[in-house]
Symmetry: C2
Subunit: 550 residues, 2 copies
C-alpha cells in the first residue's frame, strides 16, 4: 500500500500516525462493519517524524473502528517501536480479514513473515515478551495483545515494549486490542538491527531547525517540562489536579482527594529512595523529556513501569485508594492483561453506586481485576468497560462520552478540556485536545478546545509526544518538517492537516451512525456540583454543537 | 396534563397511544437523559378509540426513552387495561422522577393513589398478581414489572393482565420495564368497576360506521383473519414463515426449520385436545379476532397463555428447539420475570457462536433463563439483551438494529419487512410496518415499508390491534373516528398523523445522538445467504436512506 509520497509535492505534508489511520479508514474502512468482524481494519502507523534524530518523535498510532465507541479510533503509544518501523521504511501496517490461527507478524530488514503464535497465546504480556525475547533476541521491539485483547474485551489495549523491553506502554483506549485480537494477530515483532536513523533531505537546514526545536523544548515555555516531568513524571500531576479540584475522586463525586499525598510524586520518590525504581526514565531512546518511571515493590524488585498520572487518578483517587503499592500492583495487572487503566478505574468506580465496590477497598478492587483476568462472567462484564458495566447493573450515572470512560481530568473543573471530551470524534480522550486556561469559566472554552484539538490532531500525525509541549509552539516544528522532507509547508498547511483529519474522523462517525448529538458530556455533569470548586459543567451546549463548523 | 381536546377542532385527530408518547417525549422528554435516570419519562397511554364498542381497540402503548436502543420507544400490549383506562377518562399516565420506595399506583373511579408495593417487590408477575387480586379483587386489571424490570434489565417488559387476569401480555420491547422499574413503580392497578363504555358523539353515524368496520374485519380481505387467527392463532404463522423461508432458525442461519411440525399450530392444537388449553382466546373482552391461546402442561394445568408466533420462532426454531412444552415453559418463565421472548431468543441464539449454547439443548436454554432469574453475573449479561451479550462475549454476528433484537420474520426472505426493521425509529420491530409482498425482490420494498410504517404508526395511536388488519382498509376506520368524536377528518389527515409521529420519533432520536446511518440491517445480512431461498438482503441502502424524506 503506497500511502504517501513525501517530498513529491512541495506543499503537501506527509501522512503519518493518526493521519494515516484517518486516511485508510476513509478509503478502505467500512463504517457499518462490526468492529470485531473481518471487515474492520487494524492499523498501526508511526508518525512521519519518527525514526529521525528528533527527540520524543516515536509515538505510534494504533486504530480502526472502535469496539468500545463504535466510531473511528486512534490510540497512541510510546516506546521504540514507532522509531524502528519508520527506520525500516514502514509507514503503516494495515490488517484486514482474519488469520486462520494465532499469528506473529515478524518485521525485519529481511522483510516480513507470519509465524505461529501458539507458544504465547493465553500468556500475559510480560510472559509473552519473555518468550519472544528468547526466540528473537532482546534487541526486538514488540507490539502485542494480552489476554484481554485475545478475548476481544471492549476494554483491551495494544501493548508496546518500552526502551527496557517491558510491555508497560499501551495504546490503551477504545478497545484497539480487541481489533488486533479479532484478526488473530497476537504480536508484531520488530527487529531493526543495523538499520540507521532516517536522514533528512536538507541536512543543514534540519540541523538548525532541530536545534531551535530542542531549545524550545528545553526552555519549557509553559512551565519547564524538561525539569518537572523528568523529576516528578506524570505522578507530579496528582498534586496539580488536586489543587485545581479536577482530580477525579470517589467515582467523580469529588475533585480533590484528602489522601492525595499517599499517591503523589513525593510519595513515589520516597518509595524509590527505599527500594530503587526511578523517575526520569525515557520510554524511547533519545527522549530528552524522560517523563516515565519505574516502580519497585517492597522487596526492591521491578513491579511496573510508566505508572502514570491517569492510572494514579483512575485506580487511585477515583476508587478512594490511597496506597501506591496497591495502585502499582493493579497497574501491573492491567499492563499484563492488556487493560486500559482509565477505563478500568471508571468501571470499578461506578460499581460503588450499586454496592459492588466500596471506596478504598483495595482487596476488592484487586479481586475485580482478577475476575477480569479469569474471564468469569463478572470479569467479562468489567472487561467490557464502563458503559456495558453500567448497562448490566442498571447504573445511570455513567462517566463516559461516546461509550468511552472519562479520563483523570474532571471536566467540571477543567471546562475547556471538558469540551474536548464532549466533542472529540475519539470519545472522552485526554490527549485529543487538552485545555487548562481559565478552567472554571464557561467562556471561550469552545474556541480553546477547538484550537487545541486541531493542533493536537496534527501532532498525532507527526509522532511527536504531547510532552514535548510543542503544540504550544508549532512554529518551531514546521522548519524541521520542511528540512527533513525537503518541502515547503506553512503553519496554515499544518493546521489544515489537523482540520482535514478531524473532518475525516467526523465523517466516518456519521456514517457509522454516531450523530452530532453524541457530542456531549453526560447530563449529570451539568446538574451535580463538584466539590471543592462546586462547579457544574456549564459551557453552553449550543456553542459546543458548533465547534466543528469548519 | 391536558393532552388533547378531541372534538374541539373538527379537522384534528385526537392524540392517543404511541401518538401521546411521541407528543409527551417531544414536549417534556430529554433526549440526552440517561434512560434510567429521573429525567426520563415513563408513559402509559391507551389508544384514542379504546374503551369504545369497537372490537380489538384496547391496545395500550408504553414508552419513554429506551434503555435498550437509546432512542424513543413505544411498545404495545393487549388485555383490558387500555379499555379501562380510557373508560376512566385517563388518556395517559406520565411518570417523572423516582419514588422514595416501591409503589403501586391505584387508579379507580374514586381517583388515584399511591400505595406501598413492599408486599410484592421481588415477586414474579404471576405471584404479584395473585397478591394484588387478593388485595383489590379479581375485577382489576394490572400493569406491572417483574423482577427483570425491578432490576432494570435492558431486556425487561411491562406486563399487563389478559381478560382472564394472567400477566401474559407484555409491552415487551426496548426495555420499557426498566424505565418503570427505575421510577420504583412496581404496578398500576386499575379498577373500572361500574364505569360505562365510552359513548360516541354521533350515535347513529357511529353505529353505521362500526357495522361497516366490523364487516370488513370479518370479511378478512387479506386472508380470513377471523378464521385463521381464531383457529390457529399466531402459532399458525410458524408454517407460513417456514414455507416462505423466513422463519429464523439456528441463530438466523436458516430460514426454515426441519422440525417445524413439532412447534406449529397443528401440534399446539393436538396437545390442547389431550390437555385442555385452547385457541380462539380473546385477550380483551369483546375482541372478535380472538387470536390468543392458552397452553396447558402435561398434567392439564394452565402453564401459559398467549404463547405467540414470535416466541415459537425465537425460543423455538431460532434455538433449534422442537419441543412445544419446553418453549411454553420458557415463555412462562419470561412472562413471570418480565422478559421479552424475542430479545431472549436472539440473545441465547448468538451464544452458539461462542460455544455457550448448542442448538436444541433445552436444558441449557432453560438454565440460562434461570440464570437471568437468579441475577447471577451471567444472568445479568443475558438480561441486558442481545447487543450487550454480544459485546461481553466478543460476538460480531449480531442480529439487532439500533440495539434491539430482530424479530421472527427473517428480513432476507421478507425484504419489505427488512426495510422496516432497518429504518423504524423503534429499532427492529415486527409491528412497526409489516410488509410481505413480493418478499424476495429488492424492488419497491422501500415504498412498501414506508406506506406500511405510516399507516401502522397512525394505527398505534388508535388502540386498534394489528390483527384487525384494518391498516389494509383504513378508509373504514375514518368514519368510525369521525362519528365517535364528532369530527371531520380525512384519510389524508390520518396519514399525516402517522407521518407526524414518525417525524417526532426521528427528531427525538437525532437529538439522542442516533444518526441517520443507524438505519440499516447488520452488514452480515447483506453478505450471508439464507437457505432455502439463498437470498441476501439486497435492497439498495441508498434507497433505504431516503425513506423518511417527507
Amino acid at each position: 500500500e503506497h500511502i504517501s509520497q513525501p517530498g513529491k509535492q512541495k506543499n503537501v505534508l506527509p501522512l503519518g500516525g493518526r493521519g494515516i489511520i484517518d486516511d485508510l479508514m476513509t478509503k478502505y474502512g467500512s463504517p457499518s462493519a462490526h468492529p470485531l468482524s473481518k471487515d474492520n481494519l487494524f492499523i498501526v502507523a508511526p508518525g512521519f517524524l519518527s525514526g529521525t534524530a528528533i527527540s520524543s518523535s516515536g509515538r505510534l498510532s494504533v486504530g480502526g473502528k472502535s469496539p468500545l465507541t463504535g466510531g473511528i479510533k486512534e490510540a497512541n503509544v510510546g516506546g521504540p517501536a514507532g522509531q524502528k518501523l519508520m527506520q525500516l521504511g514502514i509507514q503503516a501496517i494495515m490488517v484486514t480479514g482474519k488469520a486462520s490461527g494465532w499469528k506473529i507478524l515478524k518485521i525485519g530488514v529481511e522483510g516480513i513473515s507470519f509465524e505461529t503464535a501458539e507458544a504465547i497465546v493465553g500468556l500475559g504480556n510480560y510472559a509473552a515478551c519473555e518468550k519472544l525475547y528468547k526466540e528473537y533476541g532482546k534487541q526486538i521491539s514488540i507490539i502485542l495483545v494480552g489476554p484481554a485483547g485475545e478475548r476481544k474485551y471492549l476494554n483491551s489495549t495494544v501493548a508496546a515494549t518500552d526502551a527496557d523491553g517491558n510491555p508497560c506502554r499501551h495504546a490503551a483506549r477504545g478497545g484497539v486490542g480487541a481489533i488486533m485480537g479479532s484478526k488473530l494477530l497476537k504480536a508484531i515483532v520488530i527487529d531493526s538491527t543495523g538499520v540507521a536513523i532516517r536522514k533528512p533531505v536538507d541536512k543543514d537546514g534540519f540541523k538548525n531547525a532541530l536545534k531551535k526545536l530542542t531549545e524550545t523544548m528545553m526552555a519549557g515555555p509553559h512551565g519547564t517540562p524538561g525539569d518537572f516531568l523528568k523529576n516528578f513524571g506524570t505522578p507530579g500531576i496528582v498534586d496539580v489536579d488536586n489543587i485545581k479540584g479536577s482530580l477525579p475522586t470517589y467515582n467523580f463525586r469529588q475533585g480533590n482527594f484528602d489522601k492525595h499525598e499517599k499517591i503523589n510524586a513525593e510519595r513515589y520518590i520516597e518509595l524509590n529512595k527505599q527500594r530503587g525504581g526511578r523517575m526520569g526514565h525515557a520510554c524511547m531512546p533519545g527522549c530528552i523529556v524522560r517523563c516515565s518511571n519505574i516502580f519497585h515493590d517492597s522487596n526492591g524488585e521491578y513491579l511496573t513501569a510508566s505508572l502514570e498520572y491517569e492510572t494514579l487518578a483512575m485506580l487511585g483517587s477515583n476508587l478512594g485508594i490511597d496506597d501506591l503499592d496497591a495502585i502499582a500492583r493493579m497497574d501491573r495487572k492491567c499492563d499484563d492483561l492488556g487493560l486500559d487503566t482509565i477505563e478500568t478505574g471508571c468501571c470499578i468506580g461506578i460499581l460503588n453506586d450499586v454496592g459492588l465496590f466500596s471506596f478504598g477497598d483495595i482487596a476488592k478492587a484487586e479481586s475485580l481485576i482478577d475476575e477480569i483476568a479469569q474471564a468469569t462472567p463478572l470479569g467479562r462484564i468489567l472487561g467490557s468497560g464502563t458503559e456495558v458495566t453500567a448497562k448490566v447493573f442498571g447504573i445511570n450515572r455513567v462517566p463516559t462520552v461516546k461509550g468511552q470512560g472519562i479520563p483523570g481530568h474532571e471536566p467540571r473543573a477543567l471546562k475547556g478540556w471538558g469540551v474536548t471530551y464532549a466533542t472529540s470524534p475519539q470519545g472522552a480522550d485526554h490527549t485529543a485536545g487538552p485545555s487548562i486556561e481559565d478552567p472554571l469559566s464557561p467562556v471561550g472554552q469552545v474556541e480553546r478546545s477547538k484550537s487545541s484539538q486541531i493542533i493536537n490532531t496534527a501532532f498525532d500525525a507527526t509522532g511527536l509526544c504531547h510532552f514535548t509541549f510543542l503544540y504550544k509552539n508549532p512554529d518551531v516544528v514546521i522548519p524541521v518538517i520542511n528540512a527533513f522532507y525537503g518541502i515547503n509547508v506553512t503553519m496554515e498547511d499544518f493546521m489544515n492537516l489537523g482540520k482535514k483529519m478531524l473532518r475525516e474522523e467526523i465523517a466516518f462517525n456519521r456514517k457509522a451512525g454516531i450523530g452530532p448529538a453524541a457530542d456531549r458530556l453526560p447530563d449529570w455533569m451539568r446538574k451535580e456540583q463538584l466539590s471543592p470548586t462546586n462547579e457544574k459543567f456549564d459551557v453552553p451546549q449550543k456553542e459546543i454543537d458548533e465547534i466543528f463548523d469548519f
